[in-house]
Structure formats: C-alpha cells, structure tokens
C-alpha cells in the first residue's frame, strides 16, 4: 500500500522516541524504542514472546505512560492532559474478544466507546451501525456477545474500536485462534479499512499478506524495520530473533503472488 504524498506531508500518525519503561517490580521491558508510522500505513510488529510488544502497545494509548522518551499520536503527545483524545485516536483491539466485549448486547458494546465520547441517540446509533457494517456484523446488533462464534466476536471487537473513528488501529494477535476461513474473512475486512494500522502478530504469512512494512522487536528495542518480504527473507535476522516461517512457506513466492493480486488470500 502506498500512501499519497500529501498525507505523509502532514507528519506521521504515530511517533515513538527513546521510549523506556520498567514495571514497578523492577523488570525493564522497553530499552529505548524508536519508530514512526506514516498515515495510512499498515505495519506489522513482529518479535518473540517477551520482546516487549504488548508493553509498547499499552503505551500507545496511555494505559502505561512513558518513563523515559515520548509517544505522539498524530502530533499529540500521550500525556494525562488529553488522554481522552489520545484514546479516541488510538483504537486497540485486544487479543481475547471476551475481554473486549463486556456489555450484554453487541449494540451496547459497540456503543460503549462513542457513548464515552459523549455521543447519544441517533448519532450514537449511526456510529454503531457504521462500525458493525464495516465488519459485516450489522445483522447481529441485538445478539449477546457470548452467543457469537469466535470469529464473529473478533470482528465485533474490531467494530467496538472502529466506532470511535480512530486514526490508528492497533491489533494484538488478530489471527489467533481463528479457523482458516475466519482468518481470511478478517484479512479481507482489515484490507478494506482505510486506516493506519499496527498489527502485533506471530502469524508471519498474515503479516506479509496485510502489511507492506514490518518492525522486528526483541529485548525491548526495535531491531529491524523494512519491507515485510525482505525481513522474512533475511534468515540470519529471523534466526537471531526467534522468528520462524511455517513449513513450506516461501516469502518470495507468496509476495510475488500478493503483488499480482492473485491467490486464495485476496479472493473476495
């Protein structure tokens, strides 16, 4: 995906500079993270367990606050003063939909974010319908979340965040626990959204399919940043960061297929 030059000119959607963080227990999770993501980019964040990916994600919307360095979202620093705006701009989709969906009906849940922003009545309903339509779940507004399939719950989770019309969508392991069909459906939905995206994932084919650019994180820092196909093809880099391709998966072949717009994964 290439972004129009005028959008890049307005500055990055997300900037992280020299970010360091240690948990109250003393365990340091981030050792100076630097990254910038342009508007409209889709970026994958790769790395082994314990690399600090989740800690970084929770800094993006101010759940954790920078101890050293800073985070800016669309130019706005992530600090206590405008936390509400920061949380509107950054939408995080958590890994377990049962954590994300906590209201008795899908409609109430998708409406929770916009209602916190002060929307009511028709305006609120419009947001709910818009977000559910974007993920193809508009027919399920009155269902209870626990009566949906796992794939449907994941899609509704995405809608709960889209309803806040964020500038950046952050997804934590979006393809985990999905069956292959749900995984592909979610990919189609994510590709159809016109929004800046940061995707934390262990699913390397998914990263290649959806994200032209990847960041590799290990031991609390960003160790690589580049086109996903090149990163996945860099065997020493992959081995050094405990990243492994699935059996029979060849990034160069898959990337060629993706560029041609062919293949099963891009079918509609």
């Amino acid at each position: 995906m290439t972004e129009p030059a005028d959008q890049v000119a307005r500055g990055p959607a997300l900037e992280v500079k020299d970010l360091a963080f240690a948990y109250p227990g003393g365990t340091q999770a981030l050792f100076g993270v630097d990254l910038a993501i342009g508007r409209g980019e889709r970026v994958a964040l790769l790395g082994p367990n314990g690399a600090g990916k989740s800690t970084l994600v929770l800094h993006l919307n101010g759940v954790y606050q920078a101890q050293v360095g800073w985070v800016r979202v669309g130019g706005l620093p992530v600090v206590e003063d405008h936390m509400r705006e920061v949380r509107r701009r950054v939408g995080i989709v958590f890994q377990d939909p049962d954590d994300q969906l906590f209201m008795p009906t899908v409609r109430d849940d998708v409406g929770f974010g916009p209602a916190n922003l002060g929307l009511r009545g028709d305006e609120l309903e419009e947001r709910v319908v818009e977000a559910l339509t974007a993920v193809g779940m508009e027919a399920f507004a009155d269902r209870a979340p626990h009566h949906l399939s796992f794939g449907q719950r994941r899609r509704v989770s995405v809608a709960t965040v889209l309803a806040m019309r964020p500038q950046i969508l952050v997804l934590d392991e979006p393809s985990s626990n999905l069956d292959p069909a749900s995984r592909r459906e979610l990919a189609d939905i994510l590709r159809s959204l016109d929004i800046t995206m940061l995707m934390v994932t262990h699913d390397l084919p998914y990263a290649l399919e959806l994200c032209p650019r990847s960041l590799v994180m290990n031991e609390g820092t960003i160790v690589a940043d580049g086109p996903t196909a090149e990163i996945l093809a860099d065997e020493p880099l992959m081995a050094a960061n405990r990243l492994e391709l699935p059996f029979g998966f060849f990034p160069a072949l898959a990337d060629a297929e993706r560029r041609q717009g062919g293949g099963r994964s891009t079918e509609r």
Partner: protein, 255 residues
C-alpha cells in the same frame, strides 16, 4: 429485539407484550402481584378473575399456556408446605375423607396456593417476554443506581465465560484420572476454585484495560435515553388497572 440472546425462561416472540418498554412491564408486574397479595383470601371469585387476567395477557403475548404452566414447577416447594398446613393447623377441625383437617390451615393453604400460583404465572409471563438485556435497561431507566445495574450486567455477560472455564478445568481434571469421589481428592477441587478466582481476577484487569482504552472514565454511559410513551405505560398497566377494582370489591364485600 431478536436472536438467541435469551435466558432459559425467555420465549422468543414479537408480540405487543414483547415490544413493551421493559420498565413499564417491571412496574406493572410488581403492582399486579401486590394487588393480588392484598386481596382477602375469602374472595374466591377475585382469584378466578386474576387468573383470567394473566391468561389474557399470556394470550396477548402469544405465549402457549403449556409453557407458562411448566414454569409453575418452581412453586412446588411452597405447594408442599401449603398441603402440610391443614394437617398441623390449630383450632376448629373438619373431616374430609376421614382425615381431620384444620379449618384455619385449609384457609392458609388456599391463600398460599392461589396467590403464589398467580404471582408465579405473572412473573413467568414477564420473564418469557423480556430478555436479560431489556431487564437491565428497564432497571436503569427506573433509576436503579448505575453501579448496581453495571454489576448485574457484568455478571450476565461473564457467567457463561466463567462456566466455560469451570467446564474446561473439570475436563482437564477428568482427563488426568481425577474422579472426585474420595475425600483426599477434595484438595484438587479447592485448587480449582482458587485457580478460577485468579483467572476471574486477571480477566477483570484485562476487561478494565479494554474499557480504559475505549474512553472509560469511571462511570458507565447511560444505556438508553428512550423513555416509554404514556401509551406504553397504559398498555402495560392495563392488567393492574383491571385487577385493582377487583381487589377493592373483594374488600367491600368482606366488610
């Protein structure tokens, strides 16, 4: 409202009763049961009329009578108690089929039986036309404190999730040869309960993070602003309006 988001007592339908605003149904239900309970027990005809009112409401809601009658099963313990009363009651006694029964006890038994049956049927009707989510909305609109409705809604939402956790842990125990039959195996049950508590606690933390991320600032947003129309109130309260004069008449007849 549609879909399979209902509790076990719910009977799926689209009748006028299903569509009534939940707060009107809640208020109407409470007032109706109070009216029934306030009626003197001697007025047999009044209870007959109450039963007709409930059956008419059930017909309006398109709930099969059999469905409602099966819900009466919850009443069984009270009925057993009611049958016990005539046998142990004090005072004047009559002989029925060779058994000496207390007159006061018989009145007591009738009183419990009639009022409980009508009360349970009315409640079953409310439950079968109102979803859990609607109940919560109704309580919220009746100005039950937001903290209480929030707790109730979290309970409703996570009951199945936690029950699922319990089920998985049980299967995991069984798969490793646990039978749960001997006293020394009680320890494992205790540890399961402990693990469940920790899991629920951790989930609470994750849910809270997800709420914060969507702009939660300490108070739940109001669920619904739509108020019931006067017409809806009148419709919902109609059975109560019919029941009230019956109750008054019963008292006048008695004095």
């Amino acid at each position: 409202m549609s879909g399979s988001h209902a509790h076990a007592l719910y009977y799926h339908g689209h009748s006028a009763v299903h569509r009534l605003a939940p707060e009107t149904k809640l208020v109407a239900q409470v007032l109706f049961v109070l009216t029934v309970v306030a009626t003197p027990r001697e007025a047999f005809w009044a209870f007959g009329l109450y039963a007709c009112i409930v059956l008419a409401a059930a017909a309006a809601a398109a709930i099969p009578i059999g469905f409602l009658l099966r819900r009466l099963a919850i009443e069984v313990p009270f009925v057993a108690f009611a049958f016990f009363l005539p046998l142990v009651g004090q005072g004047e006694r009559v002989d029925v089929l060779g058994i000496s029964l207390s007159v006061e006890g018989l009145w007591g038994a009738w009183n419990i039986l009639a009022k409980a049956t009508i009360g349970v049927m009315a409640s079953a009707l409310l439950a079968s036309t109102t979803t859990t989510a609607e109940f919560l909305t109704g309580f919220d609109r009746l100005h039950v404190p937001r903290a209480l409705t929030s707790i109730a809604s979290f309970m409703v939402r996570y009951m199945d999730v936690i029950a699922d956790d319990v089920r998985r842990m049980r299967i995991a125990r069984l798969s490793r040869g646990f039978e749960g039959r001997w006293i020394w195996q009680a320890r494992a049950i205790g540890q399961t309960a402990g693990a469940l508590f920790i899991r629920a606690y951790e989930r609470g933390e994750r849910v809270y993070l997800a709420m914060l991320s969507r702009g939660y600032a300490g108070t739940m947003p109001e669920i619904g602003e739509v108020r019931a129309t006067p017409r809806q109130w009148l419709t919902a309260l109609a059975p109560t309006f019919v029941a009230l004069p019956v109750c008054v008449l019963a008292w006048m007849q008695r004095s």
